[in-house]
Amino acid sequence: MQWYEYFLKRVLLFVPIMWGVSVFVFLIVHLVPGSPAVTMLGVQATPELVEEIERDLGLHRPLPIQYVEWITGVLQGDLGHSYSNRRPVAGILAERFWISLQLVLMTMPVAFMFAIPLGIAAALKKHTRVDYASMGIGVIGVSIPTFFSAVLLMAVFAVWLGWLPVSGYVSPREDLVESIRHMILPVMSMALVAIAVMMRMMRSSMLDTIGEEYVRFLKAKGMSRRTIMLGHALKNSFIPVITIMGLQFGYMLSGAVVIEEIFAIPGLGRTILQAVLQRDYPLVQGSVLLIALWFAVVNLVTDLAVAYLDPRIMEDDA
């Protein structure tokens, strides 16, 4: 299979999947036992208000018609109206998406900077203290709840030492230095999981490469260990790591829910949590849809990049 064929196949598959995702997100409101309008209003529910919301959401019409109307709106950028914010959902999401993206984009290089050298060191010094230490970091990194590491970092660096602000968000356009200072702790907490996962992947991938035929051939040819490792093995070891990085890039939006809540960052994660707590269904639908789209696009791009770098993968997938 050629890369462009693979590209076409994946992109064509993307459309029905996203359609399925949209149906699922649409149905969230209709899974609600009883009338969503009553649930949303809670104690404030009066017959008039319930009717108003039901009319607003078009709940009295048959489901397929409601879906068609909803998805037509979504495709035109109309995600409905948030009840808790009294604003269009699309406007809220547009604002908050960039904040979460900023968080993720700052976390990725930090995770990379720590994970890759540690993973390489663990692979080259297999079964030494370096390797065992990396294993320890790996197990703890994937086992510590994000909210626990975030609270610990906050306690030490913000409360106890007082080096960094406890919480809050400053836009980089407003004050770049303050913005970065506010982001350090959230980024560190978020990076921990990614470091653990990427480091372990880097280690095992590097070891796999070292075991391959061509590396042994280079060794037999008399090439120095250093040149083999850094010049040849390293490049090929990166491919599985890219897949994991892509996955992490998508998963960080889940992490953002916790991190943004703890550090009071008004991003997408905090928005979805508050929408769920306040039962603001249009906002829940909009933010879940946006996150699913982000996740799917990141995975698609990752798969395409990996297939481009290592065409063997396309054969497995065919």
Binding site: F24, P145, I262, F295
Partner: protein, 296 residues
């Protein structure tokens, strides 16, 4: 697991061990996994005996002992309502284990059935089921959980249900990929020719043969499940007070971290322990089932 245990015949002395025994020997060589198993056993024992071990009730408030640090009376201190943290953690384990195990087992059963069926029948059924799985997998699992909680409302059993739904696709994928290759094996084909019913083939013959990878997935998902359950409770959309919940305890503790560090540290460590146990057991099982993946 069968009759070969504890029979002092010469057969065993010759090293002609059955696959189960061989598996156990290999697994027991993995010291980290054995550590995980011991840790898990210890935690489960604490959970089962919580009624006997816990020095206090999990919900009883004592205003004479508010925010007391770790001491002989209260080994892990007390919270802002004077409740004993050690007792709350023990009962919290009971809740979090119940929720997570229920959810993961539900996902295991439904996902495995779906995956087995899809892989065995192939064609349109496979396509249909697996595209459904793809759709569910288009959401990061915490986001999927939050979306479902938005619909059904926050509650303890709600989380178990949500975990069941969110993890089903993972089991379906594992079961399907194993079952595709297995359904072409001669012994399965011969069962078909002999007229054995399809449900019987799936459950009695295919299922036991794909159990290995599924058990690895169960263990690793249990680790994930504990984290997710705790996270949802921490965020306020899971277990509701006054039920003791490790996630909620940390949420209460974080605001008091300067005055009462024990309220954050102990629940946090308490959450990590079972996750570490499940992760190390899962890694060990994976290495034992699939020696090709081990880089040693």
């Amino acid at each position: 697991m069968s009759a070969e245990t504890e029979t002092p015949t010469s057969e065993i002395d010759q090293g002609e061990a059955g696959p189960t025994r061989q598996f156990l020997r290999q697994f027991s060589e993995n010291r980290i996994a054995i550590f995980g198993l011991g840790l898990l056993g210890f935690l489960l024992l604490l959970t089962l005996l919580a009624d006997i071990i816990a020095p206090y009730s999990a919900t009883e408030q004592n205003y004479d002992a508010v925010l007391v640090g770790p001491s002989l009376d209260h080994p892990m201190g007390t919270d802002e309502l004077g409740r004993d943290l050690f007792s709350r953690i023990l009962f919290g384990y009971r809740i979090i284990f119940t929720i997570t195990i229920t959810g993961v087992l539900a996902a295991f059963v439904t996902g495995t059935l779906l995956g087995l069926t899809a892989g065995y029948y192939g064609s349109w059924l496979d396509e249909g089921l697996m595209r459904g799985v793809d759709i569910l997998m288009s959401f990061p699992s915490l986001i999927l959980a939050l979306a479902l909680i938005a619909a059904i409302g926050p509650s303890q059993w709600g989380i178990a249900l949500v975990l069941g739904i969110a993890y089903t696709p993972i089991f379906a994928r594992v079961a399907r990929s194993e079952s595709v290759s297995l359904s072409n094996e001669t012994f399965i084909r011969s069962l078909e020719i002999r007229g054995v019913s399809t449900p019987r083939i799936l459950v009695a013959h295919m299922f036991p043969n794909i159990l290995g990878p599924l058990i690895v997935t169960v263990t690793l998902q249990l680790a994930f499940g504990i984290l997710t359950t705790a996270t949802l409770s921490f965020l306020g959309v899971g277990v509701q007070p006054p039920t003791p919940s490790l996630g909620l305890m940390l949420a209460d503790g974080k605001d008091l971290i300067t005055t009462a560090w024990w309220m954050s540290i102990f629940p946090g460590i308490a959450i990590m322990l079972p996750v570490i146990a499940f992760n190390t057991i899962g890694d060990g099982l994976r290495d034992t089932f699939d020696p090709k993946q081990v880089n040693n």
